[in-house]
Protein backbone atom coordinates (compact mmCIF):
# COMPACT_ATOMS: atom_id res chain seq x y z
CA UNK A 1 0.00 0.00 0.00
CA UNK A 2 2.96 2.29 0.66
CA UNK A 3 4.00 1.95 -2.98
CA UNK A 4 0.46 2.71 -4.13
CA UNK A 5 0.40 5.86 -1.99
CA UNK A 6 3.76 6.94 -3.38
CA UNK A 7 2.48 6.32 -6.91
CA UNK A 8 -0.62 8.39 -6.12
CA UNK A 9 1.60 11.16 -4.81
CA UNK A 10 3.77 11.00 -7.93
CA UNK A 11 0.68 11.15 -10.16
CA UNK A 12 -0.62 14.15 -8.19
CA UNK A 13 2.80 15.82 -8.53
CA UNK A 14 2.78 15.24 -12.28
CA UNK A 15 -0.70 16.72 -12.54
CA UNK A 16 0.47 19.66 -10.45
CA UNK A 17 3.50 20.13 -12.72
CA UNK A 18 1.24 20.04 -15.77
CA UNK A 19 -0.99 22.77 -14.32
CA UNK A 20 2.12 24.82 -13.52
CA UNK A 21 3.17 24.29 -17.14
CA UNK A 22 -0.20 25.59 -18.38
CA UNK A 23 0.10 28.67 -16.16
CA UNK A 24 3.70 29.29 -17.25
CA UNK A 25 2.78 29.00 -20.92
CA UNK A 26 -0.20 31.32 -20.41
CA UNK A 27 2.06 34.05 -19.05
CA UNK A 28 4.74 33.42 -21.68
CA UNK A 29 2.38 33.51 -24.69
CA UNK A 30 0.46 36.50 -23.29
CA UNK A 31 3.71 38.43 -23.07
CA UNK A 32 4.66 37.46 -26.62
CA UNK A 33 1.20 38.29 -27.92
CA UNK A 34 1.29 41.76 -26.33
CA UNK A 35 4.68 42.51 -27.90
CA UNK A 36 3.58 41.29 -31.32
CA UNK A 37 0.32 43.29 -31.11
CA UNK A 38 2.31 46.38 -30.08
CA UNK A 39 4.66 45.86 -33.02
CA UNK A 40 1.65 45.42 -35.33
CA UNK A 41 0.17 48.71 -34.10
CA UNK A 42 3.49 50.51 -34.64
CA UNK A 43 3.72 49.09 -38.15
CA UNK A 44 0.14 50.23 -38.78
CA UNK A 45 1.15 53.74 -37.69
CA UNK A 46 3.93 53.70 -40.28
CA UNK A 47 6.77 53.40 -37.75
CA UNK A 48 8.56 50.44 -39.34
CA UNK A 49 11.76 50.89 -37.33
CA UNK A 50 9.94 50.87 -33.98
CA UNK A 51 7.82 47.90 -35.09
CA UNK A 52 10.99 45.99 -36.00
CA UNK A 53 12.60 46.74 -32.62
CA UNK A 54 9.51 45.58 -30.69
CA UNK A 55 9.30 42.44 -32.79
CA UNK A 56 13.01 41.83 -32.17
CA UNK A 57 12.32 41.99 -28.41
CA UNK A 58 9.53 39.42 -28.83
CA UNK A 59 11.83 37.15 -30.87
CA UNK A 60 14.57 37.42 -28.23
CA UNK A 61 12.03 36.46 -25.57
CA UNK A 62 10.99 33.47 -27.70
CA UNK A 63 14.57 32.36 -28.38
CA UNK A 64 15.46 32.87 -24.72
CA UNK A 65 13.04 30.09 -23.80
CA UNK A 66 14.40 27.69 -26.41
CA UNK A 67 15.11 24.83 -23.97
CA UNK A 68 11.64 25.03 -22.43
CA UNK A 69 10.05 25.18 -25.88
CA UNK A 70 11.99 22.19 -27.22
CA UNK A 71 11.22 20.10 -24.13
CA UNK A 72 7.52 20.86 -23.76
CA UNK A 73 6.15 22.00 -27.10
CA UNK A 74 5.70 19.91 -30.21
CA UNK A 75 8.59 20.85 -32.45
CA UNK A 76 6.45 21.50 -35.52
CA UNK A 77 4.41 24.11 -33.57
CA UNK A 78 7.59 25.76 -32.27
CA UNK A 79 9.01 25.88 -35.81
CA UNK A 80 5.79 27.48 -37.08
CA UNK A 81 6.15 30.33 -34.55
CA UNK A 82 9.85 30.84 -35.43
CA UNK A 83 8.98 30.92 -39.15
CA UNK A 84 6.15 33.35 -38.37
CA UNK A 85 8.62 35.80 -36.80
CA UNK A 86 10.90 35.71 -39.83
CA UNK A 87 7.95 36.14 -42.21
CA UNK A 88 6.95 39.36 -40.38
CA UNK A 89 10.57 40.61 -40.45
CA UNK A 90 10.71 39.93 -44.19
CA UNK A 91 7.41 41.73 -44.77
CA UNK A 92 8.56 44.74 -42.68
CA UNK A 93 11.96 44.95 -44.40
CA UNK A 94 10.45 44.80 -47.88
CA UNK A 95 7.49 47.10 -47.19
CA UNK A 96 5.20 44.22 -48.07
CA UNK A 97 1.49 45.02 -48.33
CA UNK A 98 0.68 41.73 -46.61
CA UNK A 99 2.47 42.64 -43.38
CA UNK A 100 -0.83 42.52 -41.46
CA UNK A 101 -1.46 39.00 -42.73
CA UNK A 102 2.04 37.96 -41.60
CA UNK A 103 1.33 39.43 -38.12
CA UNK A 104 -2.02 37.59 -37.94
CA UNK A 105 -0.36 34.33 -38.94
CA UNK A 106 2.26 34.74 -36.20
CA UNK A 107 -0.42 35.57 -33.62
CA UNK A 108 -2.44 32.55 -34.74
CA UNK A 109 0.53 30.23 -34.11
CA UNK A 110 1.31 31.79 -30.71
CA UNK A 111 -2.35 31.51 -29.61
CA UNK A 112 -2.42 27.96 -31.00
CA UNK A 113 0.36 26.86 -28.65
CA UNK A 114 -1.48 28.31 -25.68
CA UNK A 115 -4.90 26.93 -26.61
CA UNK A 116 -3.47 23.44 -27.11
CA UNK A 117 -2.20 23.45 -23.54
CA UNK A 118 -5.62 24.03 -22.04
CA UNK A 119 -7.65 21.04 -20.92
CA UNK A 120 -10.84 20.97 -22.90
CA UNK A 121 -12.97 18.12 -24.23
CA UNK A 122 -11.69 19.03 -27.68
CA UNK A 123 -8.01 18.74 -26.68
CA UNK A 124 -8.51 15.52 -24.68
CA UNK A 125 -10.48 13.69 -27.35
Amino acid sequence: MKKALLAGLLLAMMLGASFWNIRHLDVFTDELEKLVLCSMEEAGNGDGQKARETLQTALERWNGSETYIQVFIRHSEADAVSDGFYDVFYALDNGDENVDAAYEKLLFHIRGIDSMEHITLKSVF
Binding site: K3, A4, I119, S123
Partner: protein
Protein backbone atom coordinates in the same frame (compact mmCIF):
# COMPACT_ATOMS: atom_id res chain seq x y z
CA UNK B 1 0.07 17.61 -28.50
CA UNK B 2 2.63 18.78 -25.99
CA UNK B 3 0.46 18.92 -22.94
CA UNK B 4 1.45 16.97 -19.87
CA UNK B 5 -2.04 17.12 -18.37
CA UNK B 6 -3.65 15.96 -21.59
CA UNK B 7 -1.16 13.11 -21.85
CA UNK B 8 -1.99 12.06 -18.27
CA UNK B 9 -5.75 12.25 -18.89
CA UNK B 10 -5.49 10.45 -22.24
CA UNK B 11 -3.28 7.72 -20.76
CA UNK B 12 -5.71 7.26 -17.88
CA UNK B 13 -8.65 7.01 -20.29
CA UNK B 14 -6.86 4.53 -22.57
CA UNK B 15 -5.65 2.48 -19.60
CA UNK B 16 -9.16 2.26 -18.12
CA UNK B 17 -10.79 1.51 -21.48
CA UNK B 18 -8.26 -1.20 -22.31
CA UNK B 19 -8.64 -2.68 -18.85
CA UNK B 20 -12.42 -2.79 -19.26
CA UNK B 21 -12.21 -4.24 -22.77
CA UNK B 22 -9.75 -6.94 -21.73
CA UNK B 23 -11.94 -7.73 -18.71
CA UNK B 24 -14.94 -8.20 -20.97
CA UNK B 25 -12.85 -10.24 -23.41
CA UNK B 26 -12.19 -12.70 -20.56
CA UNK B 27 -9.31 -14.65 -19.14
CA UNK B 28 -8.59 -16.61 -22.29
CA UNK B 29 -6.89 -13.55 -23.80
CA UNK B 30 -4.48 -13.08 -20.97
CA UNK B 31 -1.97 -15.89 -21.19
CA UNK B 32 0.09 -15.76 -18.05
CA UNK B 33 0.00 -12.04 -17.31
CA UNK B 34 -2.34 -10.38 -14.85
CA UNK B 35 -4.92 -8.18 -16.55
CA UNK B 36 -3.38 -4.85 -15.58
CA UNK B 37 0.14 -6.11 -16.34
CA UNK B 38 -0.94 -7.07 -19.84
CA UNK B 39 -2.54 -3.67 -20.41
CA UNK B 40 0.60 -1.94 -19.18
CA UNK B 41 2.87 -4.06 -21.36
CA UNK B 42 0.75 -3.52 -24.47
CA UNK B 43 0.46 0.22 -23.90
CA UNK B 44 3.97 0.92 -22.63
CA UNK B 45 5.60 -0.63 -25.68
CA UNK B 46 3.49 1.48 -28.00
CA UNK B 47 3.77 4.70 -26.01
CA UNK B 48 7.51 4.39 -25.71
CA UNK B 49 7.93 3.96 -29.45
CA UNK B 50 5.96 7.08 -30.43
CA UNK B 51 8.43 9.81 -29.40
CA UNK B 52 11.22 7.58 -30.70
CA UNK B 53 9.65 7.30 -34.15
CA UNK B 54 8.70 10.96 -34.39
CA UNK B 55 11.43 13.27 -33.11
CA UNK B 56 8.98 16.15 -33.45
CA UNK B 57 7.16 14.81 -30.41
CA UNK B 58 8.87 15.94 -27.21
CA UNK B 59 10.25 12.96 -25.30
CA UNK B 60 8.60 14.25 -22.13
CA UNK B 61 5.20 13.31 -23.57
CA UNK B 62 6.21 9.67 -23.90
CA UNK B 63 7.86 9.66 -20.49
CA UNK B 64 4.82 11.26 -18.86
CA UNK B 65 2.54 8.66 -20.39
CA UNK B 66 4.73 5.77 -19.27
CA UNK B 67 5.12 7.21 -15.78
CA UNK B 68 1.34 7.66 -15.59
CA UNK B 69 0.85 4.01 -16.59
CA UNK B 70 3.35 2.92 -13.98
CA UNK B 71 1.60 4.97 -11.27
CA UNK B 72 -1.84 3.64 -12.26
CA UNK B 73 -0.57 0.07 -12.16
CA UNK B 74 0.96 0.56 -8.71
CA UNK B 75 -2.17 2.25 -7.39
CA UNK B 76 -4.34 -0.50 -8.82
CA UNK B 77 -2.22 -3.31 -7.36
CA UNK B 78 -2.21 -1.54 -3.98
CA UNK B 79 -5.98 -1.13 -4.04
CA UNK B 80 -6.67 -4.70 -5.20
CA UNK B 81 -4.39 -6.02 -2.46
CA UNK B 82 -6.39 -4.11 0.13
CA UNK B 83 -9.87 -4.55 -1.29
CA UNK B 84 -10.64 -8.14 -2.27
CA UNK B 85 -13.92 -7.21 -3.91
CA UNK B 86 -12.20 -4.78 -6.23
CA UNK B 87 -9.74 -7.52 -7.15
CA UNK B 88 -12.56 -9.91 -8.00
CA UNK B 89 -14.37 -7.22 -9.98
CA UNK B 90 -11.30 -6.33 -12.00
CA UNK B 91 -9.49 -9.62 -12.39
CA UNK B 92 -12.30 -12.11 -11.77
CA UNK B 93 -12.19 -15.31 -9.70
CA UNK B 94 -10.82 -18.77 -10.53
CA UNK B 95 -13.48 -20.79 -12.37
CA UNK B 96 -14.09 -24.51 -12.04
CA UNK B 97 -14.44 -25.85 -15.58
CA UNK B 98 -14.58 -29.34 -14.06
CA UNK B 99 -15.79 -30.00 -10.54
CA UNK B 100 -15.91 -33.42 -8.87
CA UNK B 101 -15.21 -35.00 -12.24
CA UNK B 102 -18.10 -33.24 -13.99
CA UNK B 103 -17.75 -30.64 -16.70
CA UNK B 104 -19.34 -27.36 -15.67
CA UNK B 105 -20.89 -26.42 -19.00
CA UNK B 106 -22.17 -23.08 -17.71
CA UNK B 107 -18.64 -21.99 -16.78
CA UNK B 108 -17.35 -23.37 -20.07
CA UNK B 109 -19.78 -21.18 -22.03
CA UNK B 110 -19.12 -18.19 -19.77
CA UNK B 111 -15.38 -18.46 -20.42
CA UNK B 112 -15.89 -19.37 -24.09
CA UNK B 113 -14.12 -22.69 -23.67
CA UNK B 114 -15.11 -25.39 -26.17
CA UNK B 115 -14.88 -29.11 -25.32
CA UNK B 116 -12.04 -29.46 -27.86
CA UNK B 117 -10.11 -26.65 -26.20
CA UNK B 118 -10.59 -28.20 -22.78
CA UNK B 119 -9.30 -31.54 -24.09
CA UNK B 120 -6.35 -29.76 -25.70
CA UNK B 121 -5.48 -27.97 -22.46
CA UNK B 122 -5.72 -31.25 -20.55
CA UNK B 123 -3.49 -32.99 -23.09
CA UNK B 124 -0.93 -30.20 -22.63
CA UNK B 125 -0.88 -31.21 -18.96
CA UNK B 126 -0.43 -34.88 -19.79
CA UNK B 127 -4.05 -35.89 -19.16
CA UNK B 128 -5.86 -37.83 -21.88
CA UNK B 129 -8.60 -39.50 -19.85
CA UNK B 130 -11.32 -37.16 -18.60
CA UNK B 131 -12.38 -39.62 -15.91
CA UNK B 132 -9.02 -39.01 -14.22
CA UNK B 133 -9.78 -35.31 -13.68
CA UNK B 134 -11.35 -34.25 -10.41
CA UNK B 135 -10.99 -30.50 -10.82
CA UNK B 136 -9.97 -28.27 -13.74
CA UNK B 137 -9.56 -24.69 -12.57
CA UNK B 138 -9.21 -21.74 -14.91
CA UNK B 139 -7.08 -19.29 -12.95
CA UNK B 140 -7.35 -15.50 -13.16
CA UNK B 141 -4.17 -15.32 -15.28
CA UNK B 142 -5.73 -17.66 -17.88
CA UNK B 143 -3.85 -20.85 -17.00
CA UNK B 144 -5.71 -24.11 -16.47
CA UNK B 145 -4.75 -26.09 -13.39
CA UNK B 146 -5.71 -29.74 -13.23
CA UNK B 147 -6.21 -31.79 -10.06
CA UNK B 148 -6.47 -35.51 -10.68
CA UNK B 149 -8.74 -37.95 -8.88
CA UNK B 150 -7.01 -39.75 -5.98
CA UNK B 151 -6.81 -42.97 -8.01
CA UNK B 152 -4.98 -41.19 -10.85
CA UNK B 153 -2.56 -39.20 -8.72
CA UNK B 154 1.09 -40.30 -8.68
CA UNK B 155 2.06 -42.37 -5.67
CA UNK B 156 4.04 -40.47 -3.09
CA UNK B 157 6.79 -41.71 -0.79
CA UNK B 158 4.50 -40.97 2.14
CA UNK B 159 1.76 -43.25 0.80
CA UNK B 160 4.25 -46.05 0.35
CA UNK B 161 5.71 -45.40 3.82
CA UNK B 162 9.16 -45.04 2.31
CA UNK B 163 11.86 -43.11 4.16
CA UNK B 164 11.61 -39.50 3.03
CA UNK B 165 14.92 -37.96 2.11
CA UNK B 166 15.29 -34.51 0.64
CA UNK B 167 18.35 -34.31 -1.52
CA UNK B 168 18.03 -30.51 -1.52
CA UNK B 169 18.06 -27.93 -4.25
CA UNK B 170 20.47 -28.64 -7.10
CA UNK B 171 22.82 -25.66 -7.46
CA UNK B 172 24.35 -24.86 -10.84
CA UNK B 173 28.11 -24.86 -10.26
CA UNK B 174 29.35 -24.61 -13.85
CA UNK B 175 27.29 -23.24 -16.69
CA UNK B 176 28.78 -23.15 -20.18
CA UNK B 177 32.30 -23.20 -18.75
CA UNK B 178 31.66 -20.45 -16.19
CA UNK B 179 32.09 -21.26 -12.50
CA UNK B 180 29.17 -19.96 -10.38
CA UNK B 181 31.14 -18.88 -7.31
CA UNK B 182 28.04 -17.73 -5.38
CA UNK B 183 26.38 -21.13 -5.76
CA UNK B 184 29.60 -22.87 -4.82
CA UNK B 185 29.70 -20.80 -1.63
CA UNK B 186 26.02 -21.57 -0.88
CA UNK B 187 26.81 -25.25 -1.21
CA UNK B 188 29.67 -24.81 1.25
CA UNK B 189 32.30 -26.06 -1.20
CA UNK B 190 35.53 -24.61 -2.50
CA UNK B 191 37.12 -24.16 -5.88
CA UNK B 192 39.58 -26.93 -5.06
CA UNK B 193 36.73 -29.41 -4.52
CA UNK B 194 35.13 -28.38 -7.82
CA UNK B 195 38.35 -28.92 -9.79
CA UNK B 196 38.86 -32.27 -8.09
CA UNK B 197 35.31 -33.37 -9.08
CA UNK B 198 35.93 -32.26 -12.66
CA UNK B 199 39.27 -34.13 -12.83
CA UNK B 200 37.66 -37.28 -11.41
CA UNK B 201 35.26 -37.12 -14.37
CA UNK B 202 38.03 -36.77 -16.91
CA UNK B 203 37.93 -33.00 -17.41
CA UNK B 204 40.95 -31.04 -16.25
CA UNK B 205 39.64 -27.54 -16.88
CA UNK B 206 36.19 -26.44 -15.53
CA UNK B 207 36.04 -24.16 -18.57
CA UNK B 208 35.47 -27.29 -20.66
CA UNK B 209 32.35 -28.30 -18.70
CA UNK B 210 28.97 -27.56 -20.29
CA UNK B 211 26.86 -28.03 -17.13
CA UNK B 212 27.47 -29.20 -13.61
CA UNK B 213 24.95 -29.17 -10.77
CA UNK B 214 25.21 -30.49 -7.22
CA UNK B 215 22.78 -30.92 -4.33
CA UNK B 216 23.70 -30.49 -0.64
CA UNK B 217 23.33 -34.27 -0.26
CA UNK B 218 26.09 -34.76 -2.83
CA UNK B 219 24.22 -35.77 -6.00
CA UNK B 220 26.15 -34.41 -8.95
CA UNK B 221 25.00 -33.97 -12.53
CA UNK B 222 27.93 -33.55 -14.90
CA UNK B 223 27.84 -32.76 -18.62
CA UNK B 224 31.23 -32.16 -20.27
CA UNK B 225 31.32 -29.73 -23.16
CA UNK B 226 31.34 -31.14 -26.65
CA UNK B 227 34.48 -30.52 -28.65
CA UNK B 228 34.10 -27.45 -30.82
CA UNK B 229 34.74 -28.09 -34.45
Amino acid sequence: MSVMAIVIIRTTIIFTSLLLCMRIMGKRQLGELELSELVVSVLAADLASLPLQDVGIPLINGLTAILTLFCLELILSGLTLRFGRLRSALFGKPCFLMENGKINQREMVKNRFSADELLEELRCRGVTDLTEVEYAVLETDGTLNVILTPSARPVTAGQLHLPESDSGYPYVLISDGRIMSDNLRKLGKEDKWLRHECRSRGVNDPGEVFLMTATPSGTIYFAPGEEKK
